[in-house]
């Protein structure tokens, strides 16, 4: 207890630095996954992708990151266990952050596709179950989170399958695909705008003290979505099509329309990623700050300090600005066999799933969800070849990350305990 009073500020500063480091790591590595499909299908240049990612990652983190942060902060661990020794929770959260960030760094250096969400959840469960007591973990909640990791890729796969097939029915399998594309693509933009706006309004604006009623929420979301669709329509109308193109190459023109749509879904994806993944860095930080600020009291209901969400957003953007270019350049060089019409279906499905899960406070893996969506498009016979070996690697890394995150976290936890007591 005295530790918190005597060196509380130092602990907060340590937590903030490690949290920022984690956010920076997420920005540097994970964003490439979120933006990769857009850059890979040549709908966006690297520069455009980075600018969109900066704006929308930050917006997502700030506007819709709160719910997941709460789950990471207090959903996994039974706070009543730490009432007598709140410093253990502080140490634990800092260790978990440090463990997850370290694992992210190691995996990135080795080129392994890991999930930041899995590492932080594994790390928190690890220090609490082994470092403190197995009873300190709310296993029911953890079970729910792990269950969501299996279910969300499935859901996003199904959504992607449906979106892709609807695009086939409405646009590709018609007499005049180009006209149909011009007509229907704004509808998809509306859909993307609507889901994003709705989750932001219903979940995100709470901590900004803006209270909007249910009906008004839907109306505002619809208005936002209409504006998005209209702007999209203007851009589509300004497109120049290869008029000489006969029926032979009409799909090239259709893809141009989808490339505009992909800009919208890329914004969605960045927003979704920001809203979901910022919590991985700042959830533990928020817990530490809350305990220290309350002088050792573990407040059941407390708001997140105002500076924490922006700090996480800033960390992601900084990582993105410093390393995003390099990572995305690698993507840009690789020949991707992905056209905007497929990329959009996968991105929109993944973004919707992630945003809805974020709104529900479930920390899910953005990459897993996107892989699920890609497989969904593949099932609809939309992608020339999917490398199942890589998919398997991603799934394996998903499983391995949990014990590794937990192990590292226990190690750091014992080290911190030894240092401060």
């Amino acid at each position: 207890m005295e530790i918190l009073l005597n060196s509380g500020h130092i602990l907060v500063i340590i937590a903030a630095v490690v949290g920022l480091f984690m956010a920076w790591g997420i920005g540097a590595n994970d964003v490439a996954n979120a933006m990769g499909t857009s850059v890979g299908s040549k709908a966006l240049t690297i520069k455009q992708a980075i600018i969109i990612a900066m704006v929308f990652e930050f917006a997502g983190a700030y506007l819709a990151g709160g719910e997941v942060t709460s789950t990471i902060r207090k959903g996994i661990i039974d706070a009543s266990f730490f009432v007598d020794s709140p410093e253990l929770l502080v140490f634990g959260m800092i260790s978990a952050l440090f463990a997850a960030a370290t694992w992210l760094l190691i995996a990135s250096a080795l080129g392994w596709p890991v999930s930041t969400t899995h590492s932080i959840v594994g790390a928190i469960v690890g220090f609490a179950a082994i470092g403190v007591s197995p009873d300190a973990v709310v296993w029911g909640k953890v079970g729910g989170i792990v269950g969501s990791w299996i279910i969300t890729p499935l859901i996003s796969g199904v959504i992607a399958f449906i979106i892709f097939n609807s695009a086939q029915k409405l646009i590709f399998d018609t007499d005049k695909p180009l006209q149909q594309a011009k007509r229907w693509v704004p509808l998809y933009m509306f859909l993307a705008g609507f889901v994003l706006a709705l989750v932001t309004i219903k979940k995100g604006l709470k901590h900004l003290d803006l209270h909007i009623g249910t009906t008004e929420g839907y109306i505002y979301a619809a208005i936002t979505a209409v504006i998005v669709a209209l702007i999209g329509k203007v851009f589509i109308n300004r497109l120049k099509f290869d008029e000489s193109a006969t029926l032979k190459t009409h799909y090239a023109n259709v893809e141009k329309v989808f490339a505009v749509l992909m800009i919208v879904t890329a914004c969605c994806m960045a927003f979704a990623h920001g809203s979901n993944d910022v919590a991985n860095a700042i959830g533990p930080l928020a817990a530490v700050v809350s305990i220290v600020d309350n002088g050792g009291q573990i407040a059941a209901k407390s708001t997140i300090a105002w500076w924490i969400l922006p700090l996480g957003g800033f960390g992601i953007v900084a990582g993105l600005a410093m390393f995003g270019h390099k990572v995305m350049a690698t993507i840009g060089q690789g020949i991707t066999h992905l056209t905007p019409s497929r990329g959009f279906a996968a991105e929109l499905a993944a973004a919707c799933t992630v945003v809805i899960a974020s709104g529900a406070g479930l920390p899910i893996s953005t990459t897993q969800t996107l892989v699920g969506a890609v497989l969904g498009v593949g099932m609809a016979r939309g992608i020339a070849a999917i490398n199942l070996g890589v998919v398997r690697n991603i799934v394996v890394s998903w499983v391995i990350t949990l014990p590794v995150g937990a192990g590292l976290s226990i190690l750091f936890f014992w080290m911190m305990q030894a240092t401060f007591t």
Binding site: P113, T330, H337, V371, G378, R381, I386, N387, V390
Partner: protein
Amino acid sequence: MARNTILGVFAKSPIKPLEKHIRLVVKCSNQLIPFFAACYEQNWSEATKIRRKISKIEQDADTLKRQLRLELPGGLFMPVDRADLLELLTQQDKIANCSKDIAGRVLGRKLEIPTSLQEQFSVYLARCIEATEKAAEAINELDDLLETGFRGREVILVEKMINQLDEIEDDTDAMQIMLRRDLLALERDLNPVDVMFLYQIIDWVGYLADLAERVGARLEILLARK
């Protein structure tokens, strides 16, 4: 760091190389037209030059075929069956092989097509090559088929092309019968061994159209699965 991204999931598409392969193959069979024109004029140096060219294109097609096979390992999830795709590739490649064999056999014997048959033979050859071109046209729809998820209008369009291909092949069969009958009438005035080889060349040229039809059939199977 490249593998740490979602893009590793997307493997190299076999469709563009497959289309490129059939274009090479057709280019190869097309060379038979100037080749036989040179033979009619008994311009053997020109014929040798063209045969060398045919052989070169055939080798390029072979290289591409091998490369494509290596790039299609088992662990790929594709909208079409891998075995069907590889079988299609094998059939395509046979067209180039057959073209090379025809040129080689004619040049090796300096085989002369009887003057009275030349015009008829040219028409027959052109029709057989038309079949290979039609097959290439259908294969070139594969990227559009991918765009439309292998169903709907695009499939109907390709099926129409395959039907046209079948018609052309039927046509060449009829032409082949005529050509044999006319050759039969000339037989006694010609060198018997030459006649034997003439029948064989007529056969092989007809085989080009057969192979083209098989490419179409393979494509149809590819579309029918799943």
